[in-house]
Symmetry: C2
Subunit: 133 residues, 2 copies
């Protein structure tokens, strides 16, 4: 397994300090929203780490820079992520994302139309679903 | 010199097809603006390539993913770019960016508040200034 515990381009940052992730993840804020109406972060997921179901009132775009993982939009099959993947998450669409069981994942997260408000965090992803991937 | 003629994360895309760059550059549109109000591209500059002075009515953010180069905002000294650099360009601020003379440069460009309109392209960077860097 390629060790991406130190992100290869942007600093790894601080541990994600809330309960909406299962497993260990780190976040660096690359740009605050004020002035550009768009918040940009670099997020590093350890193997097996994923976040809860959630949605963004203004949408979000993910750019995968290293590793591999999963993205799932409600009502669709999980989609495999790898270096170079671009995911466009519509406003208010329930989804989750995270690393594969056997790989780190690093992505840039661009939260657009930030003035519509912060993410709405919801329930964890079903363990059986995640473990079956 | 590290060869970044094929970008390491996102596809290199197509040659930039207009006269606002001096030298060879390539662009891949990663996400169109519609729906997110934010246009995202991957841009690859060959060594010595830079764009003209220009400004963005809605601002822009650059995330450097490989190589090295220069960014200059009008009225300030040129600022060196390297892997991991984050540049926040305010709305309507005149600026230019490009590769170093002896290095490729790859950056992601996030054009925010896209509904305010496209870039305003202006005159080339003075050759003596660029060559002195």
């Amino acid at each position: 397994m390629k060790d991406l515990s130190e992100s290869i381009i942007f600093p790894k940052g601080e541990p994600v300090g809330h309960d909406h992730f299962k497993g260990d993840a780190w976040l660096t804020r690359l740009s605050k929203a004020e002035g550009w109406n768009c918040s940009i972060s670099n997020v590093t997921f350890s193997p097996g780490c994923r976040n809860n179901w959630h949605s963004h009132p203004g949408g979000q775009i993910l750019l995968v820079t290293a590793g591999s993982g999963w993205y799932q939009e409600e009502g669709k099959e999980p989609e495999k992520l790898s270096e170079g993947s671009v995911i466009r998450i519509p406003a208010d669409k329930r989804h989750w994302h995270g690393a594969a069981k056997d790989s780190w994942l690093v992505h840039i997260a661009i939260s657009t139309n930030f003035d519509r408000g912060p993410a709405n965090w919801q329930e964890p992803v079903d363990d059986d679903l995640y473990n079956s991937l």
